[in-house]
Amino acid sequence: MENDNRTILICRGTGCESSKSPDIQKALEDQLEGSDVEVKFTGCHGMCQQGPIVIVEPEDTFYAKVKTKDVAKIVNQHINEDKVVERLVYKDPTTKERINTYHDIPFYSRQKRLVLRNCGKIDPEDIEDSLAAGTYQGLKKALDMTPELIVSEIKDSGLRGRGGGGFSTGMKWGFCQSADGDPKYVLCNADEGDPGAFMDRSVLEGDPHAVLEGMIIAAFAIGARQGFIYCRAEYPLAIKRLQIAIDQAREKGFLGENILDSGFNFDIDIFHGAGAFVCGEETALITSIEGNRGMPRSRPPYPANAGLYGKPTLLNNVKTYANVPLIITNGSGWFADIGTEKSKGTAVFALTGKIANSGLIEVPMGVTLREVIYDIGGGVLNGKKFKAVQTGGPSGGCLPESFLDTPVDYDSLIEAGSMMGSGGMVVLDEDTCMVDVARYFLDFTEKESCGKCVPCRLGTKQMLTILEDIVEGRGKPGDIERLEEIARGVKLGSLCGLGQTAPNPVLTTLRYFRDEYEAHIHDHACPAKQCKEFITFHIMDSCVGCGLCRKNCPVEAISGEQKELHTLDQDICIQCGVCYEVCPPKVFSIEIRTGEERPVKEAA
């Protein structure tokens, strides 16, 4: 193969950077110096678990978990001798089969990547690469359209807000377009605060120009001159790449005065969010940009009429904007053909938790949870049994196995008691305690509640206290009913989305996993064997006396001679689980039991 056709792509998303992908890029550049092979870096491919990822084009070879010392092999064998380096090729975690080419990997072949169209393909810090991929074509077309026509195209496409609420984007744009007031503002919500979600981060890091293009089109449609991207300070790489993209877009005349000689002026600045989950709520985000505590206010008036500094303001999520250029370029009909009747286009999920293939995926709306988890995700990690899938983050819920055939779309998920959210999807297995999951989310919302309204501030606190009591062995009859009563109150009485949805994780786990709550309260047992208060560790007769557990036990509860059966003193054990962690998988002699009497320890 002629090397001047060859390009080597190195992923430099946050995940791959953490596993030293910049060093790999450096090594490749050094070793290929003077050759015709192009070496470039890209944003996230979505399969972070297999990182660092290196792709050789045009063959489409997918190398996973590459180390710096592997670079010489790739250069000598693949580039110089045209032979694929088998041992570095992606290995399917479930079938153990090696798959040479990128697009044959089931994780990718079943996806439909619209929002993520350029992520992993282009150099996000080079606008020329974005332009070659077709970015800003939508803007050129939009500038020849009337603002009214743009809004009706967005309306006809059926696009709904990708931040989770699912309100019609076209209607929102329409309200803002017809609102009186000057100046108008366009805001992008990149305050991705959901724990377990990194969709927006990956788009910003991998294809920042797509978001800018969507915002510029929106600004032209509603008549705005200034835009802000509200991005979490916890995403330093995203902020850096966005800033580079903004500077390059200004140089090329896509931002600033008289954009592409159309007479239209618009510019974008980044606002660094300072870490408050509630700022994902639109009125709180606006209040925060104005320099205040980010607390929500009641609506109406809606931001479309009175938003930033009291002026008409359009606020959309990162992924919503990234969809816009595609709709303008390809037409609303094309977009409306993808997805279901009421949910058009695709859904982007951060698929994580106890799943074989963790990562960022994009599927057409309407595929089932089962297809996402088993066909793309490769099923539950380590062959464990599936227990539940959590979508929608702290606002969503946990759905059990019987709901796996639920189609992924806004309305079906709400009907099931969960919600789409902005796209976190966490798979839970048999070792996950559902009461602990509910406690975990409540702990989060209780901390993040801004404190403005009483139902949320005190309701989340009370629910959390009850949940803590249950997982720590102080649960009593009546707790479940009390939880349900408070949850209803918080749902009905809270001012903003944070409070209104905070009880969802509790309500769905109660609805589908009530038996686990009851086991904690009545039987003093944790069926998942996770809650420390309810478990005891035991060494079984299969112990070979290797001594690992004895050496690692922090409280010296384990004793025994080398190569002889060890014993564990329940009076000393603190249930830290180290013995379980270090016991060699072949031996597997530590058993966890639940629901048994345990020696009562004196308070320290």
């Binding site: 946050t14 995940g15 950077e17 953490s18 596993s19 399969m47 972070c48 678990q49 991705e192 605060g193 959901d194 724990p195 377990g196 979600a197 990194f198 981060r201 300070a233 916890e234 995403y235 330093p236 606002f271 660094h272 300072a274 870490g275 408050a276 989950f277 925060s288 940009i289 104005e290 320099g291 205040n292 505590r293 980010g294 951060a350 994580t352 938790g353 106890k354 963790s358 990562g359 960022l360 959590q390 983050g393 976190g424 966490v426 839970l428 996950t432 999951v437 975990y440 989310f441 989060f444 993040e448 801004c450 922090p554 830290c576 689980g577 180290v578 962690e581 270090v582």
Partner: protein, 154 residues
């Protein structure tokens, strides 16, 4: 000599909507928000000091005490939680000699938890001075801290 506010915030105007960027700039300089500068920020922006404190205490990013040489943040995102983040946190504070989040007496480490680093596929995750470390076990945490200690000892 302690730096004055004007030398830190050179390119930001003293207006209410700039309070958060100003606080971020000051914290970047000192690793925390020193008390004597809070009053100066109030004067500079013409906003009551109580409001400045109100804003600063609302957001998780801001701190009022100096940090240690190394800032270790344990992710408490959902994916990390179900894959054992609480145990990672326990091991970490045990290794550096803390009871909970905070800074060690020798000012070597500040340990904190963060909502989500966004590296869920590598869960459980922690960051040391913005460098991400994933797929953690208790043993890996011990190694990381030992390596940091050696590095600092040199």
């Amino acid at each position: 000599m302690e730096k004055s506010l004007e030398t830190i915030v050179t390119d930001i105007e003293g207006r209410r909507e700039n309070i958060i960027p100003i606080l971020q700039k000051v914290q970047e300089e000192f690793t925390y928000l020193p008390e004597h500068l809070m009053a100066e920020i109030a004067k500079f922006t013409n906003v009551p000091a109580s409001d400045i404190y109100g804003v600063a205490t609302f957001y998780a990013q801001f701190r009022f005490t100096p940090t240690g040489k190394n800032i270790v943040s344990v992710c408490r995102g959902t994916a990390c939680h179900v894959r054992g983040a609480p145990r990672i946190f326990e091991e970490l504070i045990d290794q550096v000699g803390l009871e909970d989040e905070g800074t060690t007496e020798d000012m070597e480490y500040t340990v904190e938890t963060v909502a989500c680093v966004g590296c869920c596929a590598l869960a459980p995750v922690l960051t040391i001075n913005e460098e991400v470390h994933g797929d953690l076990t208790k043993q890996k945490v011990r190694k990381l801290i030992r390596a940091k200690g050696d590095e600092n000892g040199e």
